[in-house]
């Protein structure tokens, strides 16, 4: 056995199991856990114990054994999973996590930290078992699984599922109930008077099947009811949903925890690097396919052209599916925040509520992995320094409980993540005064609010003595911006004194393959990401400024221009008319003046070498179908450069210390 590989697998598995445990335990505040959930909770400690034994990690074996024994009682129904036990199990989760981290890095295990936890676990185990939840002192309770798919017209016919379940509850103990939402239809076919729900129940009690079946007597004709005995602690089969409408859309439905855990059983784990290799190969396939199309065009070969276009369609299908394999829900990160908020709320003594929107929004796994830290920073700052203490909120006439809203959504080929708090907001005037004091802004310079707020992302801006309203806000903010920059994203913020602050992160969905728009400047090929292109225009050469920057009037609005030949130091061709590609990033637009427009293309993004990383106007390179290299333009940086220049011309000023990309470009 390759021990290194086995150890790696153990650590990955431990991470996943502990994450699942935390999520299940936090889920208890919303609803009681189902039988499946309790089994899953038990399996976490059981599996960790077994794996730790393989590696001779004796401390973890002992600790997990005690936790497992308590969880065994919980799933048997002889130990209630109340708030105090949830808190104890969360503390056990943290301890196990810390132990594994210490063990793998060769440090001593903090057994002292585990001692009180072990005492409390032992105490629970020494306490005589309470009567099982099911009322059967003499005979062992029987457990049943009931799957119900109600007929569509039962509501109209006056039947009410809650009354059926209430009657069922008088016969047996309902251990869990999970609604099956896979039958919910789309907007056009939803009729609020029809029933689309199915239910999966786990019940226990001394009853026979006909008695259970009788509870559904009134709806039996028009509904499907399946009752099956559950033996021991086996998880009920998950082969099909209870509804009779089929389950094609099951994956798209936001399911409760129990269903998600069950779905996990049908997944195949694949090492991330294998998918990356596949994406690389698909990238090469895209290039080869483009080359074939070009050849067909060049040789005017209609049959070859048709075949090449068929291949292109298939390659596109493979590309989207392979990229889809790496797409994961952002809920994977959001899921860890309820715990953080709960802990920070206790730590700071401020009641805080976290509202999450759009956790099903998908983005590339590699992005998700790198977003956790900056989002944690922002959330921590929002609670530490944004949300006011309860008494301050009361005095301001605000609800005592602060609210932090975290949302994600797709928007024009990007993912937008917003973190908003309803705290005290920031005092822009004080930040400006502080910046003037430090010489970042001249005493008489006029700067916009967004430029002032951008200062909090400067390294070191907040490390010295702080103005009160800003205190701590800047801690780690430069790291946040760096992390977002590295992901080719942007971060903006807005604030309203007394009403709170909002951070908006805009990130690309993936970094691997994009649709591009190919242009030429002085014979060199450049690619503009297609989702940034708004339109293309033609202007007279005489309207093009001599320098790298300028502006034109477009439909009554001023459009800043970047003359790429001037900007990049390339030869300027003498032509009568020039092309302008209007690009946008967020709400800003600019025009890029180029020589030729070549059209759309699909490109595989190759990162620039270390030597060129500082060139902010370029975000990468790619190889075209004909084998030539094209550079990918960083639209955000170009728009920044153009708008800074426009502001300078208008008499304002770019803030010193936030060098424009142009300055960096010139320096590079």
């Amino acid at each position: 056995m390759n021990l290194d590989l086995a150890l790696k697998a153990f650590l990955e598995e431990a991470d996943e199991l502990l994450e699942q445990m935390e999520s299940l335990l936090l889920g208890t505040t919303q609803a009681a856990l189902s039988g499946d959930d309790l089994n899953a909770l038990f399996r976490v400690m059981h599996t960790l114990k077994g794996s730790a034994g393989i590696f001779g990690f004796d401390y973890l074996v002992g600790f997990a054994h005690e936790a497992e024994s308590v969880l065994d009682r919980v799933r048997e129904g002889t130990q209630p999973l109340d708030a105090s036990l949830v808190a104890l199990l969360l503390a056990c989760h943290d301890h196990v996590k810390a132990c594994i981290a210490a063990w793998v890095s060769g440090q001593a295990i903090d057994e002292e930290e585990g001692r009180p936890l072990r005492q409390r676990l032992s105490f629970l185990l020494e306490t005589p078992e309470s009567a099982p939840v099911v009322d059967s002192a003499t005979e062992p309770a029987r457990r049943w699984r009931i799957q119900v798919g109600f007929g569509p017209d039962i509501l109209r016919d006056g039947m009410e599922p809650t009354e059926i379940f209430a009657y069922l509850g008088s016969l047996v103990s309902i251990e869990s109930i999970v609604a099956d939402l896979s039958g919910l239809p789309g907007r056009d076919s939803f009729d609020p008077c029809r029933c689309y729900l199915g239910f999966d129940l786990l019940v226990s009690g001394e009853v026979d099947e006909p008695t259970l079946s009788g509870a559904f007597g009134f709806v039996q004709d028009c509904s499907s009811v399946r009752i099956s005995p559950v033996t021991d602690s086996d998880a009920p089969p998950q082969d099909e949903p209870a509804g009779d409408d089929g389950g094609d859309d099951l994956a798209a439905v936001p399911l409760p925890i129990a269903a998600k855990v069950a779905q996990g059983h049908r997944m195949v784990k694949v090492e991330a690097s294998r998918i990356d290799q596949m994406i690389d190969l698909v990238g090469e396939l895209v290039i080869a396919s483009s080359a074939a199309s070009l050849l067909a065009q060049r040789h005017h070969d209609a049959e070859l052209g048709e075949t090449a276009s068929q291949i292109a369609v298939l390659v596109e299908a493979i590309r989207s599916r392979v990229l889809g394999m790496r797409m994961v829900e952002i809920g994977d990160i959001f899921g860890r925040f309820p715990r953080l908020v709960r802990d920070l709320s206790v730590e700071t003594g401020k009641p805080v509520r976290l509202v999450v929107h759009g956790s099903e929004t998908e983005l590339d796994k590699s992005m998700v992995d790198r977003l956790g830290e900056p989002l944690t920073h922002l959330l921590r700052n929002a609670i530490d320094h944004g949300i006011e203490a309860a008494e301050v909120r009361a005095a301001a006439g605000k609800p005592l409980e602060g609210t932090v809203t975290l949302s994600a959504r797709h928007e024009a080929g990007s993912i937008v993540i917003e973190l908003t708090d309803d705290g005290g907001g920031m005092d822009v005037g004080k930040i400006l005064a502080r910046a003037r004091e430090r010489g970042l802004i001249g005493a008489t310079e006029i700067v916009s609010e967004s430029d002032i707020l951008a200062l909090i992302f400067l390294p070191g801006f907040s490390t010295a003595t702080q103005v009160t309203a800003l205190s701590g806000r800047g801690v780690g903010m430069d790291a946040v911006r760096q992390a977002i920059d590295d992901l080719r994203g942007t971060i903006d913020m807005t604030t309203r004194p007394g009403a709170g602050s909002s951070f908006r992160l805009r990130l690309p969905l993936t970094l691997a393959i994009i649709d591009g728009f190919l242009v030429r400047v002085a014979g060199n090929a450049f690619v503009v990401p297609l989702d940034r292109v708004v339109e293309c225009l033609e202007i007279r050469a005489s309207d093009v400024p001599e320098e790298a920057f300028g502006y034109i009037e477009l439909r009554g609005r001023v459009l800043p221009l970047v003359v790429l030949s001037g900007f990049l130091g390339l030869e300027r061709r003498a032509v009568r008319r020039r092309n302008v590609v209007v690009v946008r990033f967020g709400e800003r637009q600019a025009g890029l003046v180029v020589d030729d427009l070549e059209g759309e293309c699909q490109i595989v993004v190759k990162p620039l070498g270390g030597l060129f990383r500082h060139l902010k106007a370029l975000s990468g390179s790619t190889i075209l179908g004909n084998g030539a290299v094209a550079l990918i333009l960083d639209v955000s940086a170009l728009i920044d450069a153009a708008t800074h220049d426009a502001a300078r011309r208008a008499g304002g000023s770019a803030i010193r210390g936030t060098a424009s990309p142009l300055q960096e470009q010139g320096g590079g």
Binding site: T29, Q30, A31, A32, S34, L155, R156, E160, P161, T162, F165, A166, S176, I177, V178, A179, L181, L184, G186, R187, F190, P192, C193, C195, Y196, L197, F199, D200, L201, A252, V253, P254, L255, P256, P338, P351, R353, L354, V355, H357, G358, E360, T361, L400, E401, T405, S407, R409, H410, T420, R496, A499, G500, S502
Partner: protein, 94 residues
Amino acid sequence: MDTTQRTPLPASLTLASVPEAHEELLAGLEQHPFIELDLSVVEEIDTAGAQWLVWLVWQGGQNGHPVALLAPSAPVRRIFATLGLPGLPEEDRS
């Protein structure tokens, strides 16, 4: 903050009242990036009402216009627990 539409829902969400509420809400469903439904005054709710709320959340997720259920009253919490439905915020522990 301005992108969120907070809509209070009526006291009754039953088979008799949901179709009307559905028609009223449907038009505005895709006009705001986020919609928050305030359930604090809901006194009467049956399976049709609960199913409708879950459908709104699900449909919002599908269309990229997330819908959140806020401040659920006790009857709402009760029926969601009875039917094993997801989508409600965490219960206030304070």
